[in-house]
Amino acid sequence: MSIFALLLLRVFTVFAEPLDWQGDQWKALLHFEGSKSNILSGFFLAPNGSVSLADEWQALERLKKENIAEASCRYPARALVYGWYQEDKNLEICRRWIHYRDSFAADQIELVLASAFINSPSSMYGHTLLKFRSSKKNEILDYTLNYGAETGSVVGLPYVWKGLTGGFSGYFAAAPFYLKIKEYNFVENRDFWIYPLQFSKQEVNILVAHSWELRDAIFPYYFLKKNCSYYLLDFLKVVRPGIPLTKPFLFWAVPLDTIRELKSYNLLGEARYRPSRYSKLKYKWNQLSKEELKDVREIEIANAPKYSDSASIAYEQYQYEIERKERERNTEYENYLMNHMKEERQNIFTVPEPADPLEGHNSSRLAFYYERNFLELNYRGTLHDFLSNSDAYEEGSELSMGDLYLRKKKEKIFLHRFDLLKLRSLSPTSFWSKKTSWYFLIGAAGDEEDSIRCSAWNCLQARLEGGYGLTAEFLHTKFFFLAETAFHYGSSLEKSHRFRLGPRIGFYRDLWNGAKWITEARQLFLLTGDDTTYREITGGISQTLIRNFEARVHFYYRNKSQLKFGLAYYF
């Protein structure tokens, strides 16, 4: 064969198959997106490894030649993926890696969703982490891998700014599952949903190895998109480099949506449910007969329990109150309960599994409404309100971000309302779990009535509202009362602003399967500024048609009434 033919063959080979350092696998191992890595530092061998795939590859080749065992133990995932793994127990780095690997002793990987929690909006979107299941250990001893940010002592606007612009450093951190149980199940009272991931043993080994490689890696943390859930997908791409797992998430990554993405590639097994302490207690209290309930509530040191489960439930209640800082630790009382404790009746007190969160509606919503005087188009970025189907969502909570209403009225199209953030927690209080209800809104809206002072667009007023109160449940209906304050600002108001105070009362309940009803009335008394006393009645009824489709009727009454009919689609 001539030299020319050899050269031609070489050129053909180069163009036909990318070199290893150009392939998706190497990019996934280095967490490259576009021309640079998501990792800032604490990970690369080459000084410019975060921007040069080739340099990092060459640096690894050099280390391999110098000491293949050291290269293997520093970068075991790379060694396992490319098939040159060799360990040497005489090397310190290898001893540390082996201890790490053996601590995990993983056979399988599971994705854990810490669910939303009813009275904690910071938990309303959920959180995801990975759990490395080991058949050699009790499940609570499994190791987990969590991605989170460190914000130090940054607060206020710098906190907002840094969070939105990637100013905080994010890290992967390992911890035993029992600490995550404590953190989420016991303190934040959030349920766990555990989804086995369909990876082979070799893929599990590679992911354990990659978690070791990342133990000091620093990523920029972005609250909205490149957050815990996004980087877990990025992490899993190491064993599925060909699948664009992170691609659909352009602006934000909601934990549930990232799990749905894994499901779409058939990577998820059947979910398991692990209830929080709150869920367990709620179920147990509901299962008790009147006599048993009285027995648990009246346990005192001088008053021995009559029923076998009473001490155990009282102890759980005691721990619940301690975590909520509602009572002080009392070792005498603890010991008394211990001395009367017996094994609980599992057949009665095992919490039944609720609907899988993946069966709930999707995160964003598009809705179309008809009213005899106008048409309305609604887009909501996220997530849930009192009329949304509550399957897989905690009842009694509302979290709307980016909720936008465009109206067409008399040939005019204008922005009628925009809720940047609306939060409401109307969780019923009970004798065993005292809860307050509250409300917060920041956004802009026009008054519902036509104003003689403004045309459609400049009717908008900036709104800041808040409230505090209580919710109680009677006959499966939740009644709420809030004391509210509202500050509105806009050029459409004669004095440019108004500040009002007053009560809101209402109720919400399920009507029948998939149907919900809420009605509320609010009266605000003027403290300062434009306009007079304000009185309104609002409400709505919804019916889920099929998953992600809802029919809605909203009513509104102030000086005149409105009735609008709509269809909503969650996507």
């Binding site: 604490g42 001893l141 989170g148 600490l179 000091d216 620093i218």
Partner: protein, 170 residues
């Protein structure tokens, strides 16, 4: 529009300023040096225990949560347990001889409950951590030694378990 922006900004600031406590609780900044992982850089800083028993702190300030929901809603944690910087871990996992100590200190209340009930997930976990061959005898001895366990503090209760483990031939 400038005024509207200012009002929105001030409102967010007010809501978020109460998040100081939650922010303060998060881990310290780790070393960037590859050979000195952050998990190793923390020295022994407590007289007894691994420093995990009291690291879980509830963050239930509602107005802090308003800020948290806006920014942290997409999975950001309101607080974290500083396991990786505990003085009983190396490279983010428990040191071989400290596993029992960490487990007992972190799960003191749950172990106490299981010892009283005579069974449970945390009792099984405890037996698992200490790796006894004669599981039945270790469990019975632990249950029998419950009073001594409950009289100890969370950070020193592992000494009681170690003693029972030795007596059980673990």
């Amino acid at each position: 529009m400038k005024k509207i922006g200012l009002i929105l900004g001030v409102a967010l600031c007010v809501a978020l300023v109460t998040d100081a406590e939650a922010a303060r609780r998060r881990n310290t900044k780790p070393s960037n040096n590859y050979e000195a992982p952050r998990s190793m850089s923390s020295g022994g800083h407590r007289m007894a225990g691994c420093g995990l028993g009291s690291t879980v702190i509830e963050d239930d300030d509602k107005w802090a949560q308003v800020g948290a929901a806006f920014l942290n809603g997409t999975g950001f944690q309101t607080f974290a347990i500083s396991f990786g910087t505990s003085n009983c871990t190396t490279d983010g996992v428990a040191q071989a001889d400290k596993e029992g100590e960490i487990f007992v200190e972190s799960n003191y209340s749950e172990i106490q409950r299981d010892l009283a009930a005579g069974k449970g997930e945390y009792l099984d976990g405890l037996v698992n951590v200490y790796g006894c061959e004669d599981v039945g005898s270790f469990k019975s001895n632990l249950i029998a030694g419950r009073k001594e366990f409950t009289q100890s503090k969370p950070e020193t209760a592992s000494n009681v378990v170690r003693k029972i483990a030795n007596q059980s031939g673990c």
